[in-house]
Amino acid sequence: MKLTTLLTSVAAVAAMAFAGVASASAESTLEIVKKRGHVRCQVGPASPGYYFLDSKGEWQGLDVANCHAVAAAIFGDISKLEIQSVSTQARFTSLANGDSDLLSRTATWTMSRDTQLGIDFLTPTFYDGQGFTVPKDSGIKTGMDLKGAKVCVTSGTTTESNLNDFSRTNNLNISAVTFEDFNVRDETYLQGGCDAVTGDKSSMAGNISAFPVPGDHLILPDTLSKEPLAPAVRHGDNQWADIVRWAQFAMINAEELGITSANVDDLKANSKNPSIRRMLGVEGDLHKGLGLEKDWAYNIIKQVGNYGENYDRYMGNGPQGIGIPREGSSNALWTKGGLMYSPPMR
């Protein structure tokens, strides 16, 4: 009996040692995060451009930059961050359960998700649209040529239901081949397992750049859907939502004002522009509303960069970029005809 008691108590103690005891929900997310000492942010299994591991074991990408920005805003240190990888299917429940503070994982902002899942979407990081990739030599010119085709798609996403809608609307009788994993989906397509891949055009562009002969593949002009990809937080904590939202706006605003990670120190010291001075915390009390330090936006720009820098690095033509042109797309700044627009910071 003694032995059993001992074992039980040891097991209990060990379990307590490992189990993080989360605090009661009365505390705000910001307080919890500050007490914990780092931000928890969820991304997905590696996908080029948005979130991927480099050979040093560090997460990088446009969506990861959101996570970095929040950590920089709160702690002034992008390394105060814990990144988890969640599967497509578990992402919303996992956020709602409190496994993380922020979901930055190419999730499409839809009404049902925003209103029914206990989560709130913030500003889109990337405006995307669903399309088809086909081999160039297949002779397919538009989506209407796909009658009776097999199309590879990842399961449990809006992509799958958009494909069904497209097929039904146009009477195409497309059969979907579903995959849990991007890797397997693309491999199957490359080996001829399906006639086309459907997915967000941006991510497909990234994937095509990885194919053995990128020039052999073509993205069709059809756009099946609007895909505003936005980060999400748990419903009900407005202060936390504000922090994440304005961390994003700060990056967009910085680009508009011409602040980059390279010149931010100089501008902070010498700029006469009141917008820049307010944003970087030289004058005014903008930070108080968020409950952050004065230099929260400065830290973001200094350590993460503005939106344009991140876009070039990961989505554009940087060494790790996947080469999606920004000019003339929805992802250009509003001053250049795109949709990237930040409310004024004053």
């Binding site: 299917q89 009776g148 399961s155």
Partner: protein, 405 residues
């Protein structure tokens, strides 16, 4: 003895007897059992109350009504029909079970054949053959099944031709095709009068059985043997064949044909199915080979030598003396391997074959929620299958024991 106990000893014994009440085995046993049940009961209550509380907090409910809801997706491999937008989660559950059983059944047949052959190869006199079998066994057993499945799926399959260059397995007759998307074979379309052929086949089978018994009896009585193979074959083929022709050949074939983007008609097996099947067979046959080898080695050497001494030829010794005696040692591990095949087929979820775990425990769980119900139902299916198989094993063990003693 009792009368001889002195006073002082009686005094010493008495408190010990009192103590014995707690030391008494029955008392202790009851006490411990109550304690165990209490602890387990408390644990169950604790978990259940937590769950109820958590469900309540998240605004979830417990119940099986969701099974009547329309499932918003369409499994890409199914043995029974499924209409997207009409059929329910319950049908998804059934489709998943059928898919799991279907691939398990085929894998069990394949791995049993291959495993027996490999086991015998392992004992071959030919050094080369036995070493090749050994290498096969070691590789298959020491590489995780999941890696093997992904390997077969993505690497080996890459050698198959594309759609337009499909491999014609019927050598130009354009009946069966193999390409990157899977295997396409003709599928029988049953005519109205086909049941008569089946009836004829059954009659022929019974006739063959009676014929064999007669031959056996005759051999036992007279020692003379009678040719068995040819007459049986004749009965089995000619009679049903005649009936088939007389009823007007009521059977046609639906042949796969390339139309547009795909083969239409016939029956097709998707690539994930084939990869999973190969991996399951490859992996489990190695374990079976070892069981078969151990079983054969467990048969006393003298048995074989004695059989040789009475003049049986080596292959007769093997099939009539060694194997029958090895079976009791082979069958139990073989049946538990069968169970492993059923369980391991759940790794299908990694490559997208629509087995029970993939369509029900993953996709349905994701779209419908209800984790407890869905996990419970899935596990329940595996438990029932497992109980059935171990029940079969028990029956077999009883029969073998009766024969032995």
């Amino acid at each position: 003895m009792a009368t001889g106990v002195s006073g002082s000893e009686a005094v010493r014994v008495k408190p010990q007897e009192k103590f014995n009440f707690f030391q008494d085995e029955r008392v202790r046993s009851v006490f411990f059992q109550i304690l165990t049940v209490a602890i387990v009961g408390w644990l169950a209550w604790f978990l259940a109350s937590n769950t109820a509380q958590n469900l309540d907090k998240r605004g979830l409910s417990f119940g099986f009504e969701f099974l009547d809801l329309v499932a918003p997706f369409d499994p890409d491999f199914k043995l029974i029909s499924f209409t997207a937008g009409v059929d329910t989660y319950w049908r998804i559950f059934i489709i998943g079970i059928l898919n799991t059983l279907y691939i398990s059944f085929l894998a069990i047949i394949g791995m049993s054949f291959l495993g027996f052959s490999l086991g015998i190869m392992r004992l071959s006199n030919n050094w080369l053959i036995s070493k090749v079998a050994l290498a096969y066994v070691e590789i298959a057993r020491n590489v995780p099944l999941l890696i093997q499945i992904i390997f077969w799926y993505s690497v080996i399959y890459a050698v198959l031709p594309r759609l337009k260059q499909s491999l014609d397995l019927s050598f130009g007759a354009e009946l069966a095709f193999l390409n990157i998307r899977g295997l396409y074979v003709p599928w029988p379309v049953l005519g109205d009068l086909l049941w008569m052929t089946f009836l004829a086949l059954a009659i022929a089978a019974i006739a063959t059985y009676l014929f064999r018994r007669w031959v056996q009896k005759r051999q036992d009585l007279t020692g003379k043997s009678f040719p068995l193979l040819l007459p049986s074959a004749a009965i089995l083929i000619i009679f049903p064949g005649l009936v088939f022709l007389l009823t007007g050949s009521p059977l046609s074939w639906d042949i796969p044909e390339l139309k547009g983007f795909n083969f239409v008609g016939g029956a097709s097996l998707p690539r994930a199915f084939i990869a999973l099947l190969i991996a399951l067979i490859f992996y489990h046959s190695a374990y079976l080979a070892e069981a078969v080898r151990a079983g054969i080695l467990s048969v006393n050497k003298g048995q074989g030598e004695a059989a040789m001494a009475i003049g049986l030829r080596p292959n007769k010794v093997f099939s009539l003396v060694t194997i029958p005696q090895a079976m009791p040692a082979i069958v139990p591990p073989m049946i538990s391997l069968w169970m492993n095949v059923v369980k391991n087929s759940s790794l299908a979820t990694a490559i997208g074959y629509a087995d029970l775990v993939a369509v029900y425990m993953q996709t349905s769980l994701n779209t419908a929620g209800h984790a407890i119900e869905i996990v419970g139902m899935t596990m329940g299916f595996y438990m029932i299958t497992s109980l059935t198989i171990s029940g079969l094993l028990n029956i077999y063990n009883k029969r073998v024991q009766l024969v032995e003693r």
